[in-house]
Symmetry: C2
Subunit: 129 residues, 2 copies
């Protein structure tokens, strides 16, 4: 799966440097990490390089940046999924089944071309109840 991402980088004309692959490996270890969490997993890679790599991976569609309540978080952009955020402990869990009813989307009527969507559910997780 890292191979695929590295291939995409090379295919885009970008070099597969040790720094870039280190950031990729860090991202593969856990979803929804903050910048500092990512950095902790690839010490030795400069701050600026981490930012630039995240940008690059974002443009390549490999990584997605999340803006949930607290600061920026990053995740490997795998299958379409959504997030359930616990307002008590901050835990972020994922779910794949998309509860959006496309026939209810009132936007097509108003000539808005829907390309994508993002849905976040807030509440309390099992552990916090």
């Amino acid at each position: 799966m890292l191979e695929a991402a590295i291939g995409k980088m090379r295919g885009g004309g970008y070099k597969a440097t040790p720094q870039r692959t280190a950031v990729l490996r860090a991202l593969a270890e856990e979803q929804h990490q903050s910048l500092e969490e990512i950095r902790a997993r690839c010490p030795g890679v400069g701050l600026v390089t981490v930012y630039r790599t995240l940008d690059l991976l974002g443009e390549l569609g490999i990584v997605r940046r999340l803006d949930l309540g607290d600061g920026a978080r990053y995740e490997m952009a795998e299958d379409h999924h959504h997030h359930a955020i616990c307002e008590s402990c901050g835990d972020i869990s994922e779910f794949e089944k998309c509860p959006l009813d496309p026939t209810l989307l009132p936007l097509e009527a108003s000539d808005f071309e829907v390309r994508s969507h993002s849905l976040e559910v807030y509440g309390r997780c099992a552990a916090c109840r």
Copy 2:
């Protein structure tokens, strides 16, 4: 409508200062403003006071903070609604009809208590097509 908000502030034991009502008036003029847009509508109110007022109004449930792609934006927290963001011109439009199918929410099963949700739709607006 501003009266209602001012009443809520007084009711919460907070003073209705000219600065706070100026920020409220600024917010009432347009939805989804950035901090600097709000500030431009109430010159004379200090930066710190604007931040603090937005916090206060947020706690009172009068104002909501949005984290769409570009920086923080603020809106009067009126009825439940969602956002359609044009990826071309950045325009943010609202729609009230909620296309969420509650029976599809796979979270109850996993003991997650859903309190609220946020849904954003990205694409191209009528003008940009």
